[in-house]
């Protein structure tokens, strides 16, 4: 934490923690968090926006009876810290009045975690980052028909000091870095965009600046530019049920929306119903529901290397763990925190996370990964008589039980007789219902194609919280999926 040594951070957290206990809490936690986030936007090789956010404060979660309350402030003087602790207790009294579930005080857990990194992204100059994007943009703009080049860079560090009244004492520092580029082409009365390695924020992974360098944005640029221009002359994607292969960039969001969110146990138990919705995965489905084909195994893993959802402890102090979600197609587990897991007689999946000090922790994704299968992407394509390879997300929508979904992608590549024909289609959309879709999975590429994909703007909670999560996957094939064009 910038300017504050460890003992000072612990002293600040202790001040708030003790205030909560004095005010009547039977248990309390204090999280002192500093986030540093550098956001750069580039257009046509030039820097368009340079923003550095330094956000520090403390949040106190207090337990009165079986009700939790939360108090938070960015004012770190002694009076404000004590006030935050006392306000957390006042809030807890408000929820305790109607609390319906018993809450147990956890055992203490202490330790440290820091992201392994080679190159501190905050030590790399803006000029150097700009040069990397300028080179990539130069290659995008070299393609006739590309009207604009866009780029985005994110460097993020979250440092947390966590103290609890049971004696827990934890220090963590998580660093993320990454970005992406996009070409916008305009011709034939149409506008099309292609992005790499992923749309929106690009790919943001846990680690240092070496993560961005390894993406080789300049190397990806020529193909992205060519495809953006070609799409303006492409035909709409033909409609009807067909075989589709999803590339990793798209499949990661498919996992996110149709697995990651429905397995959040707070949604299942109705606690997120008012905004985000519920889940079709009611507890009676556990160990019974056929979620996918036998090829499909998914794991919620807070320890995966490179995963944005990797840490040492979650935000209620539970050590990071891996939880089977789907094993050979069978539904096995949920994302959970201590309280929600206890309602099913299970252990926490170490998935209670908060955006920052100002938000109370809720059940969030960690890294929800699709385990690899066998073979290459070419092998997957080789098994398709007639179908489409769909790449990079453009839009997403799924119902409030996480059943009916519809995604659109940037591009569809035609597959005939086990080969890519070279023909592309624009504006592809596919839609299905979650279990039916995963049950239709007929192939998953192997470890050599498996990559980690980071999503840093997963929204949940109310007030809304933005969280960084990961999804490791290799391209996968699905049969009989309804496809069309907008």
């Amino acid at each position: 934490m910038g300017g504050l040594d460890r003992s000072t951070r612990e002293a600040l957290a202790s001040e708030a923690l003790e205030a909560a206990m004095r005010a009547g809490a039977r248990f309390a936690e204090a999280r002192l968090v500093r986030r540093t986030r550098e956001s750069l936007e580039f257009k046509n090789g030039r820097l368009e926006l340079s923003s550095l956010q330094m956000d520090a404060g403390i949040g106190v979660r207090a337990l009165v009876g079986d009700g939790w309350g939360y108090g938070a402030t960015n004012l770190l003087d002694r009076d404000s810290l004590r006030d935050a602790g006392a306000r957390a207790v006042a809030m807890a009294r408000a929820t305790a009045a109607s609390a319906q579930q018993p809450v147990e005080v956890p055992p203490a857990a202490s330790g440290e975690y820091a992201t392994p990194l080679d190159e501190d992204p905050f030590a790399v100059s803006v000029a150097e980052k700009a040069a990397l994007f300028a080179e990539a943009h130069g290659r995008l703009l070299a393609e006739p028909g590309v009207k604009a080049a866009r780029g985005t860079y994110t460097g993020h560090r979250q440092e947390t000091t966590f103290l609890a009244s049971n004696g827990s004492r934890q220090h963590q520092s998580v660093t993320l870095c990454g970005g992406g580029i996009a070409a916008i082409a305009q011709a034939n009365g149409d506008v099309q965009q292609r992005s790499a390695p992923k749309s929106f924020e690009g790919n943001v992974l846990q680690g240092g600046y070496e993560r961005l360098r390894a993406m080789d944005l300049a190397g990806l640029a020529p193909e992205v530019a060519r495809e953006a221009v070609a799409l303006t002359a492409a035909a709409p994607t033909p409609g009807g049920p067909t075989t589709i292969i999803l590339d990793g960039a798209q499949l990661s969001l498919q996992i996110h929306e149709s697995v990651g969110h429905p397995i959040e146990l707070d949604r299942v138990l109705g606690e997120e119903i008012s905004l985000a919705g519920a889940s079709f995965l009611l507890p009676e489905n556990l160990d019974r529901l056929t979620y996918g084909s036998e090829l499909v195994s998914l794991t919620a893993d807070a320890t995966t290397p490179l995963g944005p959802g990797t840490f040492g402890y979650d935000d209620e102090g539970t050590p990071a763990t891996a939880t089977p979600i789907v094993e050979r197609g069978r539904f096995r587990g949920y994302l959970s925190g201590r309280d929600t897991a206890a309602r099913l007689g299970r252990s926490s999946a170490s998935a209670l996370r908060a955006e920052s000090w100002s938000k109370l922790p809720i059940v969030r994704m960690v890294n929800v990964n699709l385990e690899p299968g066998r073979g290459s992407l070419d092998d997957l394509i080789g098994g398709v008589d007639k179908g489409l390879l769909l790449s990079v997300n453009k839009s997403w929508s799924i119902d409030d039980l996480r059943l009916n979904f519809q995604f659109s992608c940037e591009i569809a590549h035609e597959i005939r007789a086990g080969r890519l024909t070279g023909r592309i289609f624009k504006n592809p959309i596919y839609a299905d219902v979650t279990p039916r879709f995963w049950q239709s999975c007929s192939g998953i590429a192997g470890p050599e194609e498996w990559r980690m994909w980071g999503w840093t703007f997963c929204g949940k909670g109310d007030p809304g919280q933005i969280m960084y999560v990961g999804h490791g996957c290799a391209p996968a094939r699905f049969e009989g999926v309804q496809v069309g064009s907008s």
Binding site: G3, E41, L49, D55, G69, A72, N74, S274
Partner: protein, 465 residues
């Protein structure tokens, strides 16, 4: 009233940051955003989350030699603000050249206070009082075996901007976001209903009314049936329309959407792009008396009433200072405030779909066989922005209407359609209601959408469960 961030204190903090940077910069703009909020969430007919959060942050925007950088801090101590200011200057000095030289806006004469923006009682509502106001609704739902879920967020907002060009703007307001869902158990799997209000003021009677109305409607929404996919004549209630408005704002009316050629407004100003019944303005003064007013933007520029669509004809977009200069016009007061996703350019904040002449009952009465849609879920407008193609789902008490009367609740299904083309089918000014409501999707006290009830013939439903 708590008044955590008192005006004199905020001005003094901003001046400290500005003065720490001005000696080494050509220009400095400092922005303060603060809230002292009581957040409350309900689920399963109980208060399940309560949080009291005080948050204030300062953004220093430094311009040096035509280059700029922004640094945000929540450290409001002298040392913290000086460090933030010096870092902003250092980053501006080392920044490579942008697309155009950076500069700071001159004072725009922002009003200091808008009528109705501040209700001291709402700003100061505590969790105990809110719990007491909610108690009868919670008890009634428990008696009926229903879940009551939702949010009841209240608090005070503080926004201030000062700059070396002389900008000096301060605003204090209150907000209330009250959203209630009544649900049969298991919640989300059976009947549900929804009511919400976003305003600068709330009282006990409003809470009671919403809790009771939504409970009644949930009873009527039991045993939803599946209906066929295809084109349906629909009456959209204000929460549904507000979500479409929000997406129209994202895909069409920002400077970035136009710069990238992705907006349907780009190259079409003066052309008919949708139906004559559709007029959309952005107006932070909230002239209809609903919603949360905001007088100025992140640059301290007054929020001007901005015509975007007038009787279906594209009139333009909203601007911040830089995009306005490029377009050769004045800022409309729409420099973006949000910093979770910092972005360059302008953004609509208070979109209004102008009201019509009908009552909601009259609109429903015009449906021979159609759907009454309370709320939409997970709308996404990025499918094909040039045509405003959007998708989303029915949620919470959608009803089959026959002979002008709601007869049965229907199961969720998905629409996918061009909203420009769908709104072109609105049958005139009497296809919109006189009544307006303000809504937000996610909690965002700096922005809201104001919408009437709207009759839309032939909305295309494309899939179900």
């Amino acid at each position: 009233m708590r008044e955590v961030f008192e005006e004199g204190l905020v001005a003094e903090r901003l001046d400290l940051a500005m003065n720490a940077a001005r000696a080494d910069a050509d220009g400095v703009e400092v922005l303060f955003r603060g809230h002292a909020a009581s957040f409350m969430r309900l689920a399963e007919a109980a208060v399940v989350q309560a949080a009291d959060v005080v948050e204030g942050k300062v953004t220093v925007r430094a311009v040096v030699g035509g280059r700029e950088a922004r640094v945000v801090t929540t450290d409001l101590t002298d040392a913290g603000l000086r460090a933030c200011a010096q870092l902003a200057v250092a980053r501006a000095k080392e920044a490579p050249a942008g697309l155009e030289p950076a500069w700071l806006a001159e004072p725009g004469g922002a009003p200091t206070q808008l009528p109705g923006a501040l209700d001291p009682e709402t700003a100061a509502l505590d969790a105990e009082t809110k719990g007491r106001w909610l108690a009868p609704g919670l008890e009634a739902h428990a008696r009926d075996g229903l879940a009551l879920a939702g949010r009841f967020h209240t608090g005070e907002l503080t926004l201030a901007v000062r700059s070396t060009t002389g900008v000096d703007a301060f605003h204090r307001g209150s907000f209330s976001e009250l959203c209630l869902s009544s649900l049969e158990r298991p919640a989300g799997h059976r009947a549900s209903a929804y009511r919400a209000r976003t305003d600068a003021r709330v009282d006990e009677a409003t809470v009671a009314d919403l809790a009771e109305t939504t409970r009644d409607e949930c009873r009527r929404a039991r045993d939803p049936v599946s209906v066929e996919l295809g084109a349906w004549d629909v009456v959209l209630a204000p929460p549904a329309v507000a979500e479409l408005l929000m997406w129209l704002g994202e895909i069409a009316f920002t400077s970035r959407a136009v710069d990238d050629g992705l907006s349907f407004v780009e190259g079409r100003v003066g052309e008919q792009v949708t139906g004559e019944a559709v007029s959309i303005v952005d107006d932070g003064s909230m002239p209809h008396g609903v919603g949360v007013p905001l007088p100025f933007d992140a640059e301290g520029q007054p929020k001007r009433r901005t015509r975007l669509l007038e009787h279906g004809v594209a009139r333009g977009i909203v601007y911040d200072s830089a995009s306005a200069r490029r377009a050769g016009c004045a800022s409309t007061g729409h420099a973006a405030l949000a910093d979770e996703f910092p972005t360059s350019g302008s953004k609509p904040t208070h979109l209004h779909l102008e009201p019509g002449t009908a009552s909601p009952e009259a609109l429903i009465g015009r449906l021979d066989r159609g759907l009454l849609v309370t709320r939409l879920h997970y709308v996404n407008g990025m499918i094909e922005p040039k045509r405003a193609v959007m998708t989303g789902l029915l949620r919470d008490a959608a009803f089959l209407v026959e002979g002008g009367r709601p007869v049965r609740a229907v199961q969720p299904m998905r629409f996918t359609d061009s909203i420009l083309e769908a709104f072109a089918r609105i049958p005139g000014i009497d296809g919109l209601s006189r009544d307006l409501e303000a809504h937000t999707g996610w909690f965002d006290p700096w922005s809201c959408q104001v919408a009437p009830w709207v009759l839309v013939p032939g909305l295309r439903f494309t899939s179900g469960r």
